[in-house]
């Protein structure tokens, strides 16, 4: 038969269902009357016949339900269930509110975390064929990745056939000073294949071409859509016009499309060609390891194939350019070809996965908690269900009812969860470590809502299913007799198990949070090698055409530092080419006169004002510090760090030894630098990092004067309050120089561990929620159990049990649950701490102090949660309960 016709029949009947019901009733009434009539004819008594007919006819309600089932759409009983469920939830407002709040918290937190983790770890990058994109690194001896040099890139681009596009990029921060306040932009210097490697072309104008990337070639630039709209009014006529950057005219040749996501440098607003020297001078920046290489593979070429091609190209190329490679620490052992996404997320992946795991545990605890509440309610509602069953509701129908109620609860929770997620997401973004990639893509979008809906549905069905499975036929029959004692046990066992699970999960989170807390404490206990208190720092970017020569630029920085020193409240001030723990990372190879055959281990290089050591309070260990006499034409004097001295001069006095650094390496015509002193180690990359080898030289004696210098200022009072005065002093020397990255040294030190800090804050939050939920779980279960055992407790005390012994009985019952939970959770925590291992520092994942402290905390809170119901039990008056019996 035609299903369409059947559908319309159903539909018409649904629309006229009042009439349908009354007709069915009338029909059945007719049937019953005839049956009665017939029985009376057969000689059955009047009254008896009525009963018999009704008996014969069966359960009328059930019959009607079945007849309707044939006819009705599935959603009709659903609507009834829904109405009923709403009434039920409304009737128990506080129960519903508690459950909804717990769910909103659990689902909301999970959704917020998912919305952060999803675009970073799971979603493919927003480019066409992202699987064909690759990051390429030079491989160090130990296989770790090293940024590529232009020399390597140049050789690979010429000789490889694996790539549809290949490019290198570096950061570029031009200043536009023609406006009232100098504005510094984030940008990139790129080779022409860059946008083709990403697979995104300018929306206006043209892409970079090879002709743009000539050495000392034309100044051309491509703007981001945002910059174009913000600064140039979104006028298409900008193409072909000049803008002034760093005092030079740049011709705008293109504008990138709106929504272009630049994962390698999300804040970049404009781009210019790299324009390195293709003759690859061995002592030039062309051999510095400071470029990131990105490529788009030819279709059908795998990353492994590309890698073996690159490795095959390397030996001959390295041989042909031996001097260049030597100046930068020797040729790489090979190349690494990574997926862009894996590469971007390598550092944050462990933390993000750990956080995702933690929030999943929170959600699980929230669900267990609400399930427990629902089971308690189901126990109270046994009478109601038994009644409905007796009136003919099928078991499936009752289960449907419970699932509807569970889903309704979950979806109300889910609705509030959206608000929780929105708030949580804002908090997360404010807290997030700067190294998190793709933050621009983090928001509550369709896939996040789909995820939230999916977990809400799952959770809702689980909520209904759990109590539904508990409605056994036997129970439905016994329930109506209101005999509670025998059937209670089933519910109680499940509820106790759930509480144990809750305690166990809470322990897992608490241990994780404890381990992270101890790690972070250990890290911040590490001396950074300088005194960060009362220090304000900022970066000055000298980037205009004003200071053409290194000598001019050096004079500018010296005068600026002098101006800052004259501010009342400033103790001392100095410029440095790189600031510890700020993310600056400039290392150069060091060649030792004493060890001619040694490879040139990299060391951090600081070009500084002599006052730097005093300002930072870096202690002198041997020899002397640098002073104002260390300037040309005096012989170059350097100070080295203690670890460099220990690693390289274990058996001799480093003072008076001679070294060459970076570009001077291997140049016999360049003078040696003399080591005049040894200072204490300073943590540069991170507090938790290894021993930092470092070389310090005065700015004027270093081979060049860096454009960007960080000013460090020691103040007498509150450092942060001095920032405006310091900035004014800088601008009093030259008002066109932008001042960036203003921060107290304390803040920089704190921010240097932002990833661990981020993980720690979240774990602490999650662990606290878990602890509260576990405690309420224990409390709820125990309180329910006391209510159900009122009679038993009454009998016990009537038979002479003391208040103390009853208190002990209940208390022991609760603590037994807690201890079992702790025992299970202990095993889980050991497993979980393994997953955390990359985030831990200085402690074992089995750190006994953490475990014992956390277990004590959990048991203490559990004891509090047990005490309240136990005291209530002890207060039960036997006379009242026995009379009730």
């Amino acid at each position: 038969m035609d299903p369409l016709i059947e559908f319309f029949r159903k539909l018409s009947r649904l629309l006229r269902r009042e009439r349908f019901h009354s007709e069915l009733e009338e029909e059945m009434a007719f049937h019953r009357e005839r049956l009665e009539q017939q029985m009376r004819d057969d000689g059955v008594e009047d009254e008896e016949a009525g009963y018999a007919a009704r008996r014969r006819f069966g359960n009328e309600l059930q019959l009607r339900e079945q007849s309707q089932d044939v006819l009705s759409f599935r959603f009709e009983p659903l609507l009834q269930d829904l109405r009923y469920a709403l009434r039920q939830l409304g009737k128990n407002f506080w129960f519903s509110a508690t459950a909804v709040a717990i769910l909103a918290l659990g689902i909301g937190a999970t959704t917020a975390i998912f919305s952060v983790v999803n675009p970073i770890l799971f979603q493919p990058l927003p480019y066409s064929h992202p699987e064909r994109m690759a990051m390429i690194w030079e491989a160090r001896n130990d296989g770790s990745p090293l940024e590529v040099s232009f020399g390597s890139f140049y050789g690979l681009r010429q000789r490889s056939r694996s790539f549809a596009a290949i490019a290198v990029e570096r950061a570029w921060q031009p200043t536009r000073s023609s406006t009232a306040e100098p504005e510094r932009f984030d940008g990139q210097r790129v080779t022409p294949g860059y946008f083709r490697a990403l697979g995104v072309l300018p929306a206006l104008g043209r892409d970079f071409e090879d002709a743009d990337d000539r050495f000392q070639g034309p100044n051309v630039t491509i703007l981001s859509d945002g910059l174009w709209r913000r600064r140039f009014g979104g006028d298409a006529a900008i193409i072909g016009h000049d803008i002034t950057l760093d005092g030079n005219l740049y011709t705008v040749i293109g504008v990138m499309p709106r929504g272009f996501e630049n994962v390698l440098s999300p804040s970049a607003q404009l781009w210019a060609p790299l324009q390195y020297n293709p003759s690859l001078p061995p002592d030039g920046r062309e051999w510095g390891h400071h470029l990131r290489m990105i490529a788009r593979l030819q279709p059908g070429v795998s990353r492994a194939q590309a890698r073996s091609e690159l490795d095959a190209i390397l030996p001959a190329w390295a041989q042909a350019h031996a001097p260049g490679y030597t100046s930068s620490g020797g040729p790489p052992t090979g190349f690494l070809v990574d997926s862009v996404q894996a590469d971007m997320t390598r550092d944050v992946r462990p933390a993000l996965l750990a956080i995702l795991g933690a929030v999943a545990v929170v959600l699980l605890i929230a669900c267990v908690n609400v399930t427990n509440l629902l089971l308690a309610r189901a126990a109270q509602r046994r009478g109601e269900f038994a009644m409905r069953a007796a009136l003919g509701a099928s078991r499936a129908r009752l289960a449907g009812q419970l699932i509807t109620e569970g889903l309704l609860l979950a979806f109300i929770g889910g609705l509030f969860a959206v608000a929780v997620a929105e708030l949580g997401l804002r908090g997360l973004l404010a807290l997030s470590p700067p190294e998190l990639p793709r933050l621009a893509a983090v928001r509550l979008n369709g896939s996040v809502f789909a995820f939230a809906t999916a977990i809400t549905t799952l959770v809702g069905i689980a909520f209904g299913l759990f109590p539904a499975l508990h409605i056994s036929r036997r129970e439905l029959q016994s329930g109506i007799r209101q005999s509670s004692d025998r059937t209670v046990s089933g519910h109680q066992t499940t509820r106790r198990t759930l509480v144990m699970v809750e305690v166990a999960l809470a322990l897992v989170l608490l241990v994780s949070a404890g381990l992270l807390l101890r790690s972070v404490q250990r890290i911040f206990a590490i001396p950074p090698g300088f005194d960060p208190s009362h220090m304000i720092t900022m970066q000055v970017q000298e980037a205009g055409r004003r200071y053409q020569s290194d000598a001019d630029r050096d004079r500018y920085f010296t005068r600026t530092a002098d101006a800052v020193r004259r501010i009342p409240g400033v103790v001392s001030a100095a410029f440095t080419s790189q600031l510890p723990l700020s993310g600056d990372f400039a290392t150069y190879g060091v060649q030792f006169e004493a060890y001619p055959n040694q490879s040139f281990a990299p060391a951090f290089r600081y070009a500084i004002d002599p006052d730097y050591f005093a300002t930072m309070r870096i202690p002198l260990l041997r020899g002397r510090l640098l002073d104002e006499h260390d300037r040309p034409p005096a012989p170059v004097a350097v100070v080295i760090s203690e670890s460099l001295a220990r690693h390289n001069f274990a058996d001799r006095d480093p003072i008076g030894q001679r070294i060459r650094i970076g570009p001077d390496i291997g140049h016999a015509d360049r003078p040696w630098a003399v080591i005049v002193g040894v200072v204490g180690d300073v943590k540069q990359a991170s507090l938790s990092g290894g021993e930092p080898d470092a070389v310090y030289a005065t700015r004027s004696q270093w081979s060049w004067v860096d454009n960007a210098q960080s000013l460090v200022v020691r103040t007498r009072g509150d450092a942060a309050a001095m920032a405006p005065a310091v900035r004014a002093a800088i601008w009093s020397v030259d008002k066109d120089q932008p001042v960036e990255r203003v921060a107290t040294m304390d803040a920089i030190v704190a921010a240097s561990e932002s990833q661990r800090h981020f993980a720690l804050v979240l774990f602490e939050g999650f662990a606290l929620i878990a602890l509260l939920l576990a405690a309420t779980g224990i409390y709820g279960t125990l309180a329910g159990s006391v209510t159900e055992r009122t009679r038993e407790i009454g009998v016990r005390s009537a038979l002479g049990a003391s208040r103390g012994s009853i208190l002990g009985l209940i208390f022991r019952q609760g603590m037994g649950l807690a201890m079992m939970g702790v025992a299970i959770g202990f095993v889980g925590a050991i497993a979980a701490s393994r997953a955390l291992i990359t985030l831990l520092f200085g402690i074992s994942p089995l750190d006994p102090v953490t475990y014992m402290g956390v277990i004590a905390l959990l048991l203490g809170v559990s004891a509090l949660a047990c005490l309240v119901p136990a005291r209530r039990a002890a207060g039960i008056d036997p006379a009242i309960t026995l009379r009730a019996e």
């Binding site: 038969m1 007709e23 029909e27 059945m28 049937h31 005839r34 006819f57 019959l63 007849s67 006819l71």
Partner: protein, 109 residues
């Protein structure tokens, strides 16, 4: 109710349709007819009769109209439709095939 054979599954629709070939009939009449024609062996449980009737209505095999019954009361009378007649033919031949097959097994096994 020991001794009373249960209806074989699926046969109720067949019996209802067959009963209606003689004349339009109401629910009670259908039940009565089945009972009488089977010499009291088959009793249609009313609990399954009405859902079955609704099913048949929905599939367009019978149609229903309100008429006066023999006792002068309003009752819903069911009539076989053309589709129902066709369906009955198919189901009867299938049923006979089945009975014959069962019979063969019972005799020969």
């Amino acid at each position: 109710m020991a001794g009373k054979p249960e209806l074989m599954p699926g046969t109720l629709d067949l019996l209802i349709l067959k009963t209606l070939t003689r004349a339009p009939q109401h629910g009670y009449g259908i039940a009565l007819a089945i009972k009488r024609l089977s010499d009291d062996v088959l009793t249609v449980e009313e609990g399954s009769l009405y859902p079955a009737l609704q099913r048949l209505l929905l599939r367009g095999l019978v149609k229903a109209e309100w008429k006066m019954s023999e006792t002068n009361r309003r009752a819903r009378f069911y009539t076989l439709t053309a589709a129902g007649r066709k369906r009955l033919g198919i189901e009867m031949s299938e049923f006979e095939r089945m009975v014959a097959a069962i019979g063969r097994v019972l005799q020969n096994a």
